[in-house]
Structures are given as structure tokens and as C-alpha cells.
């Protein structure tokens, strides 16, 4: 049923109103306010009753059939809306805005709640941002060939952040999507078409793209929207990025449409997003920076180790810092200096800082409520207390010598006056429902106090009256009561019926009592009710004025909040460094040498009992020690060792202390990882294919300043193929790049390369045997591992003893027959086999010019060679 239905005119006026609004609401569920309930009709009702598991009833609508209907009471609506929005639906709220009088009361859609524009606490996670992302794609204009393909703009209206940028290529877009994890994405048609190829979209790890009309994306419309909404003149910033303009304009108009007004607290980022250490999605996942790899939760990730923030703003901020490790030596050192300063402070001061941070609530999100006008009294009190703690915190950190902390302190405004105003106005235990009153403190407003006194006095007078009446009539159990329908009344039990004087007027009869009123009581009642309603009106006015007052301080509060978030993050770094014994890394700008003494894996260390983690050193200088070739049985710790080198580097770049005895970290531009197995059935790629594609990407993009973690390259295909590819890649890396590489492998043949290739050094993670069992030494030593111990490690896993024993026998036989000997014989040169094509193969190999051959081509050549064998 909709507006254009032929039966429209037969419907009742209210139903017609409903359908008009439904037309406006488009694809959102329309919650139609009817008195104390929000109701849904027709198709909406059917769908929502299933989704929310509420009863589906019907209602007369003027047609022969009843209209399907379901509804929820208004005071419980938030949780229902939350559920729908979390499931990805949109909800439009139509409220009664006109005067209730004759005829149909006027209704309007006051807000459309969508996943990306949710503001209620129930729909938000305190420690996560809730992003709405708008992406725009149009084919490059010939007149401006430098314009990037895609423009993106995003905002979190619950905290007021707003950013935008140009996106260069699908890979970058993928990364942005993975990083922001927006809860809602809007785009134009061309973008949606293009997005099908994005891996994040294919894997379903990001929300669906929804279409919004092209009008909003039109360049001049967008420009107008931007100008009218944002205070600052950001036109200059976007002048050269027309796609950005479109995306930003469309984003802002979407926000306006859903909130039905503009929210002043939304302000664009003033800071330019500086360059950062690039991580790529796979690297973030492999290194378990934000979530662990087994169950996707926070515990067991780097964030879990480092996040000791006390405020929600800090929790959101630390995620951003971890997603953007810095690349500027000075900025990193500023953060490290700040942590250094905190270590120098006396413990009592640290305790006080911690107490202050604990007292600061999520003032960023409170600001959004102020903007929207939905702030509750409790939020006001929280805001006031937080502002006082902000000021106290500011004074504490101004005493330190750190430039960064002092800068942040200066960004915190002294808002104690505002805080004191709020605290003197609002009761500490004010109720959440504003319309019931009882919000304003005594002593704040004389008139209000007077009105309240009238009521109190009147109530006392009533008590006196009751006393008098009791004595007068001699009825001992005379009581006074109140209800909404009859007001104040005297209640007398039936046993005393005879004593009732004439001036009592009977109002209500109950089973064993009767209720009366007198003129006196009625007079007082009128006084009380009058003063009550006046008091309520006054309270609401005062509250509104207070909100207006707070609004004027909005940008100061927000900038203080951002500063507090950074202070909290730095303090969190300090806390974790202290508790876990981290040290300050030396950041080297013009040096390629990465040196870690007794480094530890921060996550594994935290998950083990204290002191159970064996530390290990690392030296990579881009020259003689470029490529660490690590061999050793499974489970010996190769992967953990490699990851710890990457994690320590990232932590250093984020400006935090690191788990080591000493560390010297050069500025790294990118970190690549190629770890783990997994195929991509959806797009028809095998494990091997995935690996090869990732490898090719890495080899294309790596520079001299990069760090690469390559774990067991060449698995997923037969031994010789894998070995050859791995070999070729090592040669390429050694000859062409100074990038630092950690390369773990089971191919012991590769250990020969230490003598052949520049920069390759062998390391091993050993085991020892004790009475048949193997024990992992966990210490990284120079040299090559002798055996793989695969069978012994399999025994650890609980594989049936019979199988283990048989495997042992087979191994012995294979080793005897082995074409590739275990004890370090070379591959090239010795006979691989006895077939006749030896010479041809050797010829091809010796003529091969590795410098001019890409890995892909090498792979092809090897495939060829293999065929000949």
C-alpha cells in the first residue's frame, strides 16, 4: 500500500497522513507516533513484527480490510530502534509536532536513524567510532587527468569528526574500508558497480553500499551544501579535488536529511593526515594488531596489550594511533619524551593523573547530544565533573617538561566556570525523564524555589487540615490521599461512615472505604497543582537555557576532549611500558640498521605467565645482514620471532616504548607480511595462487626502507617447485633491494645461500631431545637447523603412535634414497636426477639473467624446466 494506490482516497485521514510520510521516508521503517505508542502499518508492520518479535494486529483504515499494525510504547522505543539499526535497517521517526486539538494533529518526520548516524548510547560501542562513509566515483575527465578516480568523505556524528580525501586506486580504497570499518556506506551508482571487485566487499567484511541520488553528488550542489554547513572555509582545501567535493557534499546533505537539521559539532579535521608507516590489510591481520586471529576478539591483540586507557575518547584515539604509525622522527620522539617525563614524576602525581582520567566521561559523545538537544540531566552532571577533572589534569601535566604534554595541556580550556554553573543548577540525582521535573537544584533560581515552597507549604497545610479534621470528627483513621483522577481526597473506612460531616462531598466509593473532598482541600489542591505546573514549566525553561549556554562552549569542549584523548593514550603507553618493562627505542632517521637486544613478543609475553618468554636479539642492517633465513621445526617459534620484530618496529613508530632490553629502529616506510595459508574459494583462487599474488605485490612495492616477513614461501605446491621459487625470490631480494627480510622456511637447501648471496644469514630455532621427547630451546642461534623434527612435533599433537612410528620408518628410507641430501649439498650442480635432459637444464639455468627476470617469469621458466624433468 502506498500513496499512489487507487484506494488512497478511501482511507482515513490519518492513514493518508501515514502514507504521505512513508513516501518521504523511502526505504526506512516509519515509526508513526500515536499517543503513547509508535505504530507501524502495512508492509512495515509485517516485516518489523517478525524482526522485533512483537505481535501483529490490525486497525481500521477505512477500507474493507484492516490494515496490518504493530507498535511499541514510546518509553521503550530506543532499544527496539537499536535492534533494527544494528541489523542494518533504517528507522524514520514521525512525531506529533502540532497542537493536539480538533482534527488530525500534525506529524512530521523528525529524524531518520540509520546505522551510520546512530546517536543513542544503546547503538554505539564506547570504544569504537561509528563511521558513515560516502564514496564517489566517476570516470576521469579528460580535462583533468590528474584527478583521482575516487573521492571519499566520512564522519562519525556521535563524536563530530569529519574527514575527506582522494583515493588512488582500489587497493587504497580497500585499506580505507578495512581501517574505518564504517557501519554505513553511501555511494553513487558508478561506485557501486566498481565496488564489486573489492576484496572487503567480496568477503562481506564491510557493510553494503547503498545508493543515494545523483543530485547530491552534483558538483555545484555539493559545493553549496558544504558552504552552508561548515563554519570554516575549507573550499580551498578541496578546490583541486572535485570528486572529494562531490563525496563531501553528498555526505553532508545525507546527514542533514536524516537528522532534519544541521549538527554544529561536526567539524572537519584540522590536522593534515601525515604520512605514516604503511601496513596493508593483511599485515594488520597477520600481526594481530587489532584483533586476534583465532576468534577475532580484542584479547590477544596488540591493541589489547597497549590499551590501558581510562576514557572512551582515549580508547577510540589509541586505535587511530595504532592504525597510523608515524614516520616523522621528531613527532615520534615527542611522544617518547612525554612517556619519559611521566616516568620521572613522583608516584603520587601519577596516582592523581589516573584519578582525574577516571573521572572524565565520554564528553565527545555528550557534545553530540548537546548539538541534537537530547542531553539528559545526568549527562550534564557527568560533563560538569569531567570538565573539573580536565582542569585538574591540565595543571598536573603542565608541571612536566614534555613539549607534547604541554601542548596538549594548552589545548584544554579552563571550563570550570561552566562546570560550576551546571553543578549549581542541576541536582545530582535528577531523573532521566526531563518532563517530570525535579531537575533543578534548590537555591539556583529564587522563583522556582518559591513555587516549590508553595507546594511544600500547601502540603503541610493539608496535613494540618487532616489533623484538625481528625480531632473534629473524632475519626481516628482518617487518611489523605492523592491520585491523578480525583486529586486530593480524604479516605474514611466504612466503619466510621456515620461520623461524616455534611461539608464532605463524596467522590469515590471503594469496597471498604469512601473518599471525600472538602472545599478547603480543593482550594489547596488548586494551589498545589498550579504551582506544580508553573514550576515544571520554569524548570524546563531553565534547562533549555542551560543547554543553550553549554552549546556556546561546544567547540572548546570538543577541542579539550581531543587533547584529553591524546593525553589518555600517552598515559596508557606509559602504564603498559611500566607494567611490562618496556624501554625507550632509539629512532634513527638516516640509518637502515634495525637492532633489537633481547626483544620479546608483546602479545605472547602477556598471555604467558611472567618471565616465561625467552627473549631474542635481531640485527638487520640492509647490507651484510639483510635477509634472515630462519630454519627450524614447526612450533619452534619462527613465526613468533618474525612477528615480534615487526610488532616492535610498529610500537616504536607509534611512539611507545618497546619490549626489549635496547632497541634501535630506523624509519620504516612499509611493512609487508606473507604468512599463513588460506584459499579464496569465492573467487576461485587456491592457496598457492593467493600466496603468489601477494608475493608479487610485495616485490613490486617494497623499497629499501621496507620490512618484509615471508613465512614458508613455496608451500602449497610440490617441494621442488616451491623450493625453486623461494630460491629465486631470495636471489631477487638480495640483488635488488636493501629491504630487511625475515624469511622462514623448511627447505634446508636454501641455507646454502649464505655463502652465495649477499646479505643472507642463517639462523635457527633449535630443539633438543630428552629421553625421546623434544624440548624447544626457543633461543635464536646462528647456523642452520639440522633436522625438521616434523615427526616429533606431530607426536606432540597427539597423532596416533602407530602412524608416528610408521612415519619414522618411512623417513629413514626416504632419506637414504633422497635425491636432495640433508647435510648441505648444493642444488645447482649436482645431479638432481639421472634423466638425459641434464645438460639442457643446466644450460638454461646458466644463461638465465636474474636481473632482467621478474618472479612471475621465473615461475614460468621453472614450470617449464620442471616439465623437462
Amino acid at each position: 500500500m502506498n500513496k499512489s494506490d487507487k484506494n488512497f482516497n478511501n482511507l482515513t485521514p490519518m492513514m493518508q497522513q501515514y502514507l504521505e510520510l512513508k513516501d518521504e521516508a523511502l526505504d526506512a521503517f516509519l515509526f508513526f507516533r500515536l499517543g503513547d505508542f509508535y505504530e507501524l502499518f502495512f508492509d512495515d508492520a509485517k516485516k518489523v513484527s517478525k524482526l522485533l518479535d512483537i505481535a501483529l494486529t490490525g486497525r481500521d483504515c477505512g477500507l474493507s480490510e484492516r490494515a496490518p499494525m504493530c507498535g511499541v510504547p514510546f518509553h521503550a522505543v530506543d532499544s527496539y530502534i537499536a535492534k533494527l539499526v544494528k541489523d542494518g535497517h533504517k528507522v524514520a521517526m514521525a512525531e506529533q509536532v502540532g497542537e493536539v486539538g480538533q482534527g488530525l494533529v500534525r506529524r512530521e518526520i523528525v529524524r531518520i536513524v540509520t546505522p551510520g548516524t546512530a546517536l543513542e548510547d544503546e547503538m554505539l560501542d564506547a570504544d569504537k567510532n561509528n563511521y558513515l562513509l560516502c564514496v564517489f566515483h566517476q570516470l576521469q575527465e579528460r580535462s583533468n587527468p590528474l584527478a583521482a578516480n575516487i573521492g571519499a568523505a566520512w564522519t562519525d556524528i556521535s563524536t563530530g569528526e569529519l574527514s575527506f580525501c582522494d583515493i588512488d586506486g582500489m587497493v587504497r580504497l580497500n585499506e580505507l574500508l578495512a581501517r574505518l570499518n564504517p557501519s554505513e556506506i553511501i555511494a553513487n551508482q558508478k561506485m557501486i558497480d566498481l565496488s564489486i571487485n573489492l576484496s572487503t566487499v567480496k568477503y562481506g567484511s564491510v557493510s553494503k553500499f547503498s545508493l543515494i541520488s545523483d543530485i547530491d553528488f552534483d558538483y555545484s550542489n555539493a559545493l553549496d551544501t558544504i558552504n552552508s554547513s561548515l563554519k570554516q572555509d575549507i573550499i580551498l582545501k578541496v578546490k583541486n579535488k572535485p570528486n572529494c567535493v562531490s563525496a563531501l557534499g553528498a555526505l553532508l546533505s545525507y546527514v542533514k536529511n536524516t537528522q532534519k537539521k544541521w549538527l554544529e559539532h561536526i567539524m572537519p579535521n584540522n590536522e593534515v593526515e601525515s604520512e605514516c608507516l604503511e601496513l596493508g590489510i593483511t599485515a594488520s591481520r597477520t600481526l594481530e594488531i587489532f584483533t586476534n586471529n583465532s576468534d577475532g576478539r580484542k584479547r590477544g591483540s596488540l591493541l589489547w596489550v597497549m590499551d590501558k586507557t581510562s576514557t572512551s575518547m582515549g580508547a577510540r584515539n589509541i586505535k587511530k594511533w595504532l592504525a597510523h604509525p608515524l614516520k616523522d622522527e621528531n613527532k615520534i620522539n615527542q611522544r617518547l619524551d612525554a612517556i619519559d617525563e611521566l616516568f620521572k614524576q613522583p608516584p603520587l602525581l601519577i596516582n592523581k593523573i589516573e584519578d582525574d582520567l577516571d573521572n572524565i566521561s565520554d564528553i565527545e559523545r555528550i557534545c553530540s547530544k548537546i548539538s541534537l538537544g537530547t542531553i539528559k540531566p545526568k549527562d550534564c552532571i557527568n560533563l560538569a565533573n569531567s570538565l573539573i577533572s580536565c582542569e585538574s589534569l591540565k595543571n598536573l601535566i603542565l608541571n612536566t617538561d614534555s613539549i607534547l604534554l604541554k601542548n596538549l595541556a594548552n589545548k584544554i580550556d579552563n571550563l570550570t566556570q561552566l562546570a560550576n554553573l551546571i553543578k549549581s543548577a542541576i541536582k545530582e540525582d535528577a531523573p532521566n525523564l526531563i518532563r517530570e521535573g525535579g531537575i533543578i537544584k534548590q537555591g539556583f533560581n529564587k522563583e522556582l524555589d518559591n513555587l516549590k515552597n508553595i507546594k511544600t507549604n500547601a502540603v503541610t497545610t493539608l496535613d494540618q487540615i487532616v489533623q484538625r479534621e481528625k480531632e473534629h470528627t473524632g475519626i481516628k483513621n482518617l487518611k489523605i490521599g492523592f491520585n491523578r483522577i480525583f486529586g486530593y481526597y480524604l479516605e474514611i473506612s466504612n466503619s466510621n461512615k456515620s461520623e461524616i460531616p455534611y461539608r464532605y462531598t463524596r467522590k469515590q466509593t471503594l469496597a471498604n472505604a469512601e473518599r471525600y473532598i472538602t472545599d478547603e482541600i480543593k482550594e489547596i489542591e488548586t494551589k498545589i497543582l498550579n504551582s506544580e505546573s508553573k514550576a515544571l514549566e520554569l524548570e524546563l525553561q531553565i534547562y533549555e537555557k542551560l543547554q543553550e549556554k553549554i552549546k556556546t562552549y561546544l567547540d572548546k569542549i570538543l577541542s579539550s576532549a581531543k587533547a584529553i584523548a591524546s593525553v589518555d593514550t600517552i598515559f596508557s603507553f606509559y602504564k603498559v611500558s611500566k607494567e611490562c618493562g618496556f624501554i625507550r627505542p632509539q629512532i634513527k632517521n638516516n640509518d637502515l640498521c634495525l637492532k633489537i637486544i633481547e626483544g620479546r613478543h608483546p602479545i605472547v609475553e602477556a598471555l604467558l605467565n611472567s618471565n616465561e618468554f625467552t627473549p631474542n636479539d635481531t640485527v638487520l642492517d640492509g647490507d651484510e645482514h639483510k635477509i634472515m633465513l630462519i630454519t627450524g621445526p614447526n612450533m619452534s617459534g619462527k613465526s613468533i620471532y618474525m612477528r615480534q620484530v615487526a610488532l616492535i618496529s610498529i610500537m616504536a613508530h607509534v611512539g611507545c616504548y618497546v619490549p626489549a632490553k635496547a632497541a634501535s629502529i630506523p624509519l620504516i616506510d612499509k611493512i609487508f607480511t606473507r604468512v599463513g595459508a588460506g584459499d579464496d574459494a569465492l573467487s576461485g583462487r587456491s592457496t598457492f595462487m593467493v600466496e603468489m599474488q601477494e608475493l608479487s605485490y610485495i616485490l613490486e612495492e617494497a623499497t629499501d626502507k621496507s620490512l618484509c616477513l615471508l613465512d614458508e614461501i613455496g608451500r602449497g605446491t610440490s617441494t621442488y617447485d616451491g623450493l625453486s621459487i623461494a630460491w629465486a625470490i631470495l636471489e631477487y631480494l638480495s640483488n635488488n633491494l636493501k629491504a630487511k627480510v625475515l624469511f622462514s622456511t623448511h627447505y634446508h637447501e636454501l641455507t646454502d645461500l649464505e655463502n652465495k648471496l649477499e646479505g643472507v644469514k642463517n639462523y635457527k630455532l633449535g630443539v633438543r631431545e630428552y629421553e625421546g621427547a623434544i624440548i624447544f630451546i626457543r633461543k635464536l642461534l646462528r647456523g642452520r637447523a639440522d633436522k625438521s623434527f616434523g615427526i616429533e612435533v606431530a607426536a606432540l599433537s597427539g597423532l596416533k603412535k602407530g602412524i608416528i612410528n610408521r612415519a619414522g620408518e618411512l623417513l629413514k628410507e626416504l632419506e637414504k634414497k633422497s635425491l636432495v641430501q640433508q647435510k648441505g649439498d648444493k642444488l645447482g650442480g649436482k645431479a638432481i636426477n639421472t634423466k638425459a635432459n641434464d645438460n639442457e637444464i643446466i644450460k638454461i639455468l646458466s644463461e638465465l639473467d636474474l636481473d632482467s627476470v621478474s618472479p612471475r617469469l621465473a615461475y614460468d621458466i621453472l614450470a617449464d624446466l620442471k616439465k623437462k624433468v
Binding site: P346, P347, L348, N351, Q417, N420, L421, K423, S424, K441, G443, F444, N445, K446, E447, L538, Q541, I542, K545, L546, E548, K549, K578, E579, G581, E598, N609, S610, N611, T614, P615, N616, R768, Y770, I775, I777, R778, K779, L781
Partner: protein, 596 residues
């Protein structure tokens, strides 16, 4: 004829006698922890990490960054009588290390599953040894940090009776917590990390005594006063809690001799005596005393757990400590005589060492604030529209600059050296202004103290005045003779279970309750003396007889009280509460933010 088989005498296998010895050394998880930590300290560790699970019954781990143990010696350490700490018998006379008996590891290994990993500096790899109730399970090389790490799991797993006899996990945990407090305080240069069931409980950074104090006592550190003295042949440094911050148990009393936590009853008793006039019955001060004396002046080899010690010069040490405390405690309480003392320079408001109130924690109550704010709000009712105009913009919360300063900043009276008696407030405090200091005197407490002192003096006379009773009081309770003798000396006249007279100062005593208490278990069990009880009674009498808060005093009565008080030396009420507080003008100015 019956054949009796003679049992043969044999030398016990080490396996067996380790288990026997374990009974003395290892009686609970806390003793295991203590032994292991002392080993780590002896190894010169600067960082020691302790982790326990389930009260230490399931899991104890102590790891350090000390010098470590050589590969070949790791297994040897578990032999009985094996130690690196002493070699010759002369060493016993001057024991410098904490451990020396060579028994701990072997005992522990006999009754639990123990894994030790140790690495010395010039080796790449460490060496590990695993014993399970005395049986070797594994030994060999392994990667490790420099230092030693010992893991003890499943204590008493082979002696189920003993394991059951252990207290609950939570009380064992409490014992270990208390032990850790002492260990941290005893080793202020070591950074400790103490984790219980994966939660961090204590962490110290090894940067000295005050840092150690803060890690254990947190913000309460502000309530300790410091005593120290260096004398030939000894150095004493201590922290004693102020009388009003005493605790309800004796757990917070730590004595550390030469870096070893010990129990010395004589010292404890001396401290108790020094403070008893200021602390209520059944409250105990918290204290931490470091004593450094030459190693040959004491004997630690008294008990296997090495906590009991014997000094050679006990009396001298006790005397010093007693007087140190007594001297310092007087300094803690301001004297009323200050008011009369013209020689004190009260303009010098810098650095009061002993601050009786923490003004930095004083927060302005919002309720107080509102008095200012609402007075400044301009509200007007507009009669015509019957609406209320609230003009929040007119709020004028006074800024600092709005006040007008005096020309000089300070007011210089001509009467610098006399004080102004400003009367009383709340019928509880006397307010005195003298030059730039405000004194508040709790006159009930003051009077109580005066009376208490008077009564005490009276009772300590050889023949205290007695008040005969009109009717002798007969009692059936069983009071021991020693108490009766003491009571007689104090002025009681007791014959054949009848009380004929009581001391004059206790004329209003409730005899029934008094007698009951004297006969109660308390005196016998808790080694409270009759004197302590009497003291309690005196306090109560004094309290009753003194001017109550709520009674009003006239100005002249105040003068008299002040004059009396000026004669007294120590001023605090017998419960330990202060009698007089002073606030300098500077302190008050700070509150009003006249100065920052």
C-alpha cells in the same frame, strides 16, 4: 622363646630426609615464596617477578635477573646442604646473605614439582632442571633470560594430609600478600612485580625507600612520620604512622635488619610503649623500621625460617628507638604554648614539615559555590507575560581580579605578639587568631587530655587518693592475683573479693562492668595488663568529666583553659585525635585562590 628382630639403624636416603626437613622449612606457600625471594636477593637481582595462583598452592613462580647459576651447578643446588653463600664456619658468625642454610631448594623439591631455569651472563643458553617430588624429570639446555627462574607447582602433592591441612587458598594468599609487603619494604632497591591469579597486585620500581613505601601504601604514605638516627655502630631509619592513622591489626609492623625482614619482640614492645599514650586500646600503629648494624652484632641462626634474631646490644637499640619516637611525636602536635610564646617567628610560613591537614585535597563543595552564583544571577519576573526571564548571561561568578587587595598584602597589627581570642564556634572549637595564623582548638579534647594527665599523675602516686565506698562491692568473678595487686597499688582497696574503696579519680566507675572486664579472657589471652585496662577507664572518666562539645564556654573560661593547656607538653586527646589545628594565612589565601 620369642624371636625379636632387631631393627637396624641406617642412614636415611637423601630422598627421605629431604622430605622430613621440608616439614620445618616449607610449612606453607608463603615460606616457599620467602625462601625463593631471599635467594634472588642474594643473587644480586634488581628485578624480581613473583606470580602465584590459587594462593600459591597450585603455582608459585619467582624469577629474577640476578647472576644466575652455572650449567653444572643447577642440579647441585637441589642437594641438601648445598649453598653458595657460606663456606667456612667463621662465615656463620657474620652472615651477610639472606639464605645460608642450604636447605630451601632441596626441601621444596621434595614436596612439589619444581622447575628451575638459570642462565649466566656469558652463556647464550640457560640450563633447566625439573624435579618432581625429588625425582629428576628433565635437565638440559634451554633459552632463558640472564638470571634464575623457579617454578613450584602442586605443593605437597605427595603428602595429601599436609595439603589438606593448608589453610584456604584465600588465607594463604593473604599471608603471601603480607609477606610481599614486607619483602618490598625490606628491599627498596629491588623492583618487584607481584601477580596473583593474573592480576598485578604490587609493583615497585626499586628507586629507594620512599618509592617502596608508596607502592605498598599508596596515598597513605602521607600519614607516616619519619624518624632516623645515625649512631656509632648503627643506623636507624623508620616510618611510623601518625597516631590517628593506626590500624586495627598488627600486620603493618615491619622491622628490617640489614635488609632482612625479621621479627623482634623486644623492639615491637618498645615501640608499643612509646606510642601507647596516644593510641586507643586495641589499635596498633603501622611502622617500618630499618636497622643497619654490623653483621657480627647479631645472630640469625636461631630458627630455620630465619625470622627470629638475637642482638648483642639489644638494650641500646631499643632505647634509641623508644626515644626517637617519643621525641618526634611531640613535634607532631602543635602546642598551645605557641600562642603565648613570643619568640616564635610566625611570619615564616614556609615548609611546615608536619602538615596536619592536606589542603591540596580540599575540594570546594558545589553547594557552597551555589551561594555565590545564585546571588549573582539576575532573575526578574516579568509581570505582564507571566513568563520568567532568566538571563544566564548575567551570571557573574567573581573572578580573582574583582577583589581589591590590601595595600600591603598582610595586615600588620600592633599586637603581633598577643593573640586574639575570637570565641567559640559550633560549641566545639575555640578560635584564636595570632598574627598570621588561625588556631582552632577542640576544647573537649583539650580538657579531656588535661583531666587524663591529672588522673594519671594521681594514680601513679605511691599512695593515690582513695574514695571509700558506702557499701562495699562484692564480686564473684575470678580476677587473678597479679591484677589485684596492681589494682591495690592504684588505690583500690580489695579484700576477699570485696571492693572497699576505689581511686578518687575513678569515683564514678561502673564496678560491675569493670570487674567483669578484669576477670575476662581478654587480660589473660591478649597480654593486656591491668594497667592498660585502667588506662582505658581513666580515659572514659576523663571523657565524661570533661567539658562536652555542645557545652558553651565563656571567654574567661576559655582563657583559663588555655592557660592550663599551655603548661602541657604533648597535646592530643587520649584517643590520638589532635587537640589543636593551625592554618596559616597563606593556606587560607590559597583556598580563595588569592595566591596560586
Amino acid at each position: 622363646m620369642r624371636y625379636i628382630i632387631l631393627p637396624k639403624i641406617q642412614i636415611l636416603d637423601s630422598f627421605i630426609y629431604n622430605r622430613i626437613a621440608a616439614g620445618e622449612v616449607v610449612d606453607a606457600p608463603s615460606s616457599v615464596v620467602k625462601e625463593l625471594i631471599e635467594n634472588s636477593v642474594d643473587a644480586g637481582a634488581t628485578e624480581i617477578n613473583i606470580e602465584i595462583k590459587n594462593g600459591g598452592i597450585d603455582y608459585i613462580s619467582v624469577s629474577d635477573n640476578g647472576c644466575g647459576i652455572e650449567k653444572g651447578d643447577v642440579k647441585l643446588a637441589f642437594e641438601r646442604h648445598a649453598t653458595s653463600k657460606i663456606k667456612a664456619v667463621e662465615d656463620l658468625d657474620a652472615i651477610k646473605s639472606l639464605g645460608f642454610r642450604g636447605e630451601a631448594l632441596s626441601s621444596i623439591a621434595a614436596v612439589a614439582s619444581v622447575k628451575m631455569v638459570s642462565r649466566i651472563l656469558h652463556e647464550d643458553l640457560g640450563y633447566t632442571v625439573h624435579f618432581d617430588t625429588g625425582v629428576l624429570m628433565d635437565e638440559g639446555e634451554i633459552g632463558a633470560n640472564v638470571g634464575t627462574s623457579v617454578k613450584v607447582e602442586n605443593l605437597f602433592l605427595n603428602i595429601p594430609a599436609r595439603r589438606k591441612y593448608l589453610k584456604s587458598a584465600s588465607s594463604e594468599k593473604m599471608n603471601i600478600n603480607l609477606l610481599m609487603m614486607k619483602m618490598i619494604l625490606a628491599n627498596p632497591d629491588v623492583a618487584f612485580k607481584y601477580i596473583v591469579d593474573q592480576k598485578l597486585i604490587y609493583q615497585s620500581d626499586g628507586k629507594g625507600v620512599s618509592a617502596a613505601l608508596v607502592s605498598v601504601y599508596g596515598n597513605e604514605t602521607e600519614y607516616f612520620f619519619n624518624i632516623n638516627k645515625t649512631a656509632p655502630g648503627m643506623k636507624i631509619n623508620g616510618f611510623v604512622s601518625k597516631p590517628e592513622n593506626s590500624k586495627s591489626n598488627k600486620n603493618h609492623q615491619t622491622i628490617i635488619v640489614n635488609g632482612r625482614y625479621v621479627i623482634c619482640n623486644e623492639i615491637s614492645f618498645a615501640i608499643h610503649n612509646a606510642l601507647k599514650d596516644y593510641i586507643m586500646l586495641r589499635r596498633y600503629p603501622a611502622y617500618l623500621i630499618y636497622i643497619d648494624i654490623p653483621f657480627d652484632m647479631l645472630d640469625i641462626n636461631v630458627h630455620p625460617n630465619k625470622t627470629e634474631i638475637k642482638f648483642i646490644e639489644t638494650k641500646r637499640i631499643i632505647g634509641i628507638i623508644y626515644h626517637l619516637i617519643k621525641d618526634n611525636i611531640k613535634a607532631m602536635f602543635s602546642n598551645v604554648s605557641d600562642i603565648f610564646d613570643n619568640s616564635k617567628n610566625l611570619f615564616d610560613n614556609k615548609h611546615e614539615n608536619i602538615d596536619l591537614l592536606e589542603f591540596s585535597n580540599f575540594k570546594l563543595d558545589a553547594n557552597q559555590q551555589q551561594l555565590n552564583v545564585s546571588n549573582c544571577l539576575n532573575l526578574s519576573i516579568s509581570e505582564q507575560s507571566n513568563r520568567f526571564d532568566i538571563d544566564l548571561d548575567k551570571i557573574n561568578i567573581p573572578a580573582i581580579n574583582d577583589f581589591v587587595y590590601d595595600k600591603d598584602g598582610l595586615r600588620l597589627d600592633n599586637e603581633i605578639f598577643t593573640f586574639k581570642n575570637l570565641g567559640t564556634i559550633f560549641n566545639t572549637y575555640i578560635v584564636i587568631e595570632k598574627s598570621s595564623v588561625l588556631y582552632l582548638i577542640d576544647y573537649h579534647a583539650a580538657h579531656e587530655r588535661l583531666l587524663y594527665n591529672k588522673f594519671k599523675v594521681e594514680l601513679e602516686k605511691l599512695t593515690p587518693a582513695s574514695q571509700p565506698l558506702l557499701i562495699p562491692y562484692a564480686f564473684k568473678d575470678d580476677i587473678n592475683n597479679y591484677s589485684i595487686e596492681t589494682l591495690k597499688k592504684l588505690g583500690f582497696d580489695i579484700k576477699n573479693n570485696n571492693i572497699f574503696a576505689v581511686p578518687l579519680v575513678l569515683y564514678d566507675i561502673e564496678l560491675r562492668i569493670f570487674v567483669r572486664e578484669m576477670a575476662s579472657e581478654d587480660i589473660k589471652a591478649r597480654d593486656l595488663t591491668a594497667l592498660d585496662f585502667i588506662k582505658d577507664k581513666i580515659i572514659r572518666s576523663a571523657c565524661k568529666a570533661a567539658v562536652k562539645s555542645g557545652d558553651s564556654l565563656s571567654l574567661s573560661e576559655i582563657e583559663v583553659l588555655l592557660k592550663d593547656m599551655a603548661q602541657e607538653e604533648e597535646l592530643c586527646c587520649p584517643h590520638g585525635r589532635p587537640v589543636i589545628i593551625k592554618m596559616t594565612r597563606r593556606d587560607i589565601d590559597k583556598l580563595f585562590k588569592r595566591i596560586v
